[in-house]
């Protein structure tokens, strides 16, 4: 996993609540057996005017000029600004892979759906929760300011605007540690293999029908 420490990037605003993972990456792309290659199909049904299929070359597909990621001022965006309950719906980690493959390193929203939020941390994509008022303010600033960039400092847990305004954000200490170091948590859990075996031995006696 790519570690996350500091990042400064162009902000793309997606002004819509309850963006679901079906919208982030439609189902036909879930047929892939790979972890990469989802970037061109991120938000496929909003981004293009035709129907997309996996394996297709997207460079000549008709684009929807109104969709935010197709607008020239947001080209190269790496910070996504969104509304309440971002990433709701299905557990597909492909949604996180698509955002990450596209080039996003961070999503800022007032709230996230649980499974999506959890999946982000497995892939070096930082989800930041800021209160609704702050997010609203950021939407206004992005709209008013071309080339609007935010600086995210994970060790300091801050988001800094171009004018120097600083927002603090909370993050679970274990998740922060894993993100900063790009750690694979399977390896961390396996350090407790003896405890897992001891637990199993006890449970095998207490609830033998679960081990039959």
């Amino acid at each position: 996993m790519q570690p996350f420490t500091q990042h400064t990037g162009l902000v793309a605003p997606l002004d819509r609540a309850n963006i679901d993972t079906d919208a982030i990456i439609p189902k036909q792309f879930l047929k892939s057996i790979n972890r990469s290659g989802f970037g061109p199909n991120l938000f496929d049904e909003w981004r293009y005017r035709d129907h997309g299929e996996p394996g297709q070359d997207c460079s000549n597909r008709p684009r929807n000029p109104e969709f935010i990621l197709n607008q020239s001022r947001y080209q190269g965006a790496s910070v996504l600004l969104a509304r309440l309950n971002f990433g709701c719906g299905s557990s597909r980690e492909h949604a996180v892979w698509a955002l990450e493959n596209f080039g996003f390193r961070c999503v800022i929203a007032p709230s996230f759906a649980d499974i999506f939020f959890n999946n982000c941390f497995k892939n070096g994509l930082l989800p930041i929760v800021l209160d609704e008022g702050s997010v609203d303010g950021l939407f206004r600033e992005v709209a008013a300011t071309p080339a609007y960039r935010l600086t995210i400092d994970l060790p300091a847990q801050t988001v800094t605007t171009p004018s120097g305004e600083v927002f603090g954000f909370a993050i679970d200490a274990f998740r922060k540690h894993c993100l900063l170091n790009g750690l694979d948590d399977i390896g961390l859990t396996l350090q407790h293999a003896d405890e897992i075996r001891a637990y199993e031995d006890r449970r095998r006696r207490e609830v033998p029908w679960l081990f039959a």
Partner: protein, 467 residues
């Protein structure tokens, strides 16, 4: 000893270790696997040279991509076929039990787990699928995980997690006749909202829940995620135990007796404290129909489509306007005036035998309206299909003009060939009405099996109780 919620009991029984900050290593008893969210996890295992920690905990089945038409022809779509072949190759390589496409036990992962007795009370159950909360109906802690966590469970039998907050949803009183589990859960989502359960483990309780069959309970728990909660659960009672007895994976003989005795404790203690309690008045619930693109956008069948201009919250108002524009619907329209192009009866929410019986009871002796282009029934599993055929339900559906299909996820998410065309409206017994969920540009209305059946006959929404 302090009073505990059901969630407390399930959590405590599965904690291997907890760090000072509350981060726990949680043991997983049952790991259900399907073809869509597992290939990258198996690939990760191979790259790291790891073996599954406990193969016997795993049960795999292809469901999302499988065709629901004659399977002797195989799968036309080469990409879908590759995903199924990959699951089969991985299960063979790692020694994991798989119910293949031609196995009578094949079906939707959340239908077959309980049907086989592979889901048991007191278990932790995970699957790379958000509707895993279904299994919580058995007094289990069940939740969906992403692919990285699928791999984590394969490799370690555990997950790293912090405990969620707890919410009791008490459904007080009884529903009126003809109001189903689906109406009940849609009404709950309508009340608490699609993010109302975010960060919580839900427990559904109260007389109206106790009165439900296991099929109905699974329908309710299945949609916990549509209220934002990863896990939804219910206490164990005689109905739970009667459902499980004799199922292939359920314990037998002396072990069964021991298990049943232990399961008696799987309920919240009377004085248990929840972080939040929501009361729902069961008697007030009418048959529900969704009008928008989020499951919370739901009204009773006799209501009208709400007017966004009456919504004070600008973000909510914007969502409502976007939903109506996508659905091609106008505020104030009576729900009964929405005409339907297609009807879908099936899914992990409503693809069980009781659902098919309820739909068939409405349809019997009637015909699908001429204006409906397609009406299909997709049983949740091969065994559900077999049972339905033994009861003659297939003949009822076929005589009415329904297509009688092979089991799978089908048009719930339209990964296979079953899908809506742009602008088409569908009465669907599935769980999500998101934009494009059932096909790009398609418009989904979530309803119960009886309501979908009645809509098929009428060609538009009607109160199934009036049939």
């Amino acid at each position: 000893m302090a009073a505990k919620t059901l969630y407390d009991k399930l959590w405590d029984a599965h904690v291997v270790r907890t760090d000072a900050d509350g981060t726990a290593v949680l043991y997983v008893d049952r790991h259900l696997v399907h073809e869509v969210t597992s290939p990258q996890a198996f690939e990760g295992m191979k790259l790291a040279g790891r073996q599954p920690w406990r193969r016997a905990s795993m049960l795999a089945v292809p469901d999302h991509n499988v065709p629901t038409t004659d399977r002797r022809r195989g799968i036309d779509d080469p990409i879908s076929r590759l995903q199924l072949d990959t699951l089969e190759a991985n299960c063979t390589e790692f020694g994991i039990t798989e119910f293949k496409m031609d196995d009578i036990r094949q079906g939707i992962v959340h239908v077959i787990g309980p049907e086989q007795g592979a889901t048991l009370p007191g278990m932790t159950v995970v699957c790379g699928d958000s509707h895993t909360a279904t299994h919580g109906a058995f007094g289990a802690l069940a939740f969906g995980v992403g692919t990285s966590e699928v791999e984590h469970v394969m490799a370690t039998q555990c997950l790293i997690q912090k405990k969620s907050k707890s919410m009791l949803i008490s459904v007080d009183g009884q529903v009126s006749p003809g109001v189903t589990a689906k109406d009940l859960v849609l009404a709950i989502i309508g009340q608490i909202g699609t993010a109302g359960g975010t960060g919580y483990a839900l427990e559904f309780a109260g007389p109206a829940i106790r009165a439900l069959s296991m099929e109905g309970r699974m329908t309710v728990c299945n949609m916990a995620i549509e209220a934002g909660a990863r896990a939804g659960m219910m206490a164990v009672d005689d109905i739970t135990i009667a459902y499980l007895e004799g199922r292939p994976y359920a314990p037998k003989g002396n072990l069964w007796e021991q298990a049943v005795a232990a399961w008696q404790a799987l309920h919240s203690d009377p004085d248990a404290v929840f972080d939040q309690i929501v009361h729902i008045d069961a008697a007030a619930i009418q048959p529900q129909v969704t009008w928008g693109t989020s499951p919370e956008m739901v009204v009773a069948v006799h209501d009208r489509i709400p007017d966004p201009t009456a919504e004070p919250d600008p973000v909510k108002r914007g969502s409502m306007e976007q939903a109506l524009a996508y659905m091609g619907l106008k505020p104030g329209t009576p729900m009964t005036q929405i005409s339907l192009d297609r009807i879908f009866i099936g899914s992990c929410t409503n693809g069980r035998i009781e659902d098919l019986r309820a739909a068939a009871a409405v349809i019997k002796g009637r015909k699908v309206a001429n204006s409906v282009k397609q009406a299909m029934v997709v049983p949740g599993s091969g065994l559900v299909k077999l049972q339905a055929e033994a009861e003659g339900l297939d003949k009822v559906f076929i005589a009415a003009g329904f297509e009688w299909r092979e089991p799978g996820c089908s048009m719930c998410l339209a990964m296979n060939a079953d899908r809506l065309l742009p602008g088409e409206h569908c009465a669907s017994t599935s769980n999500r009405n998101f934009e494009g969920r059932q096909g790009q540009g398609g418009c989904t209305h979530l309803v119960s099996p009886a309501m979908a059946a009645a809509a098929a006959i009428a060609g538009h929404f009607v109160d199934a109780r009036e049939f």
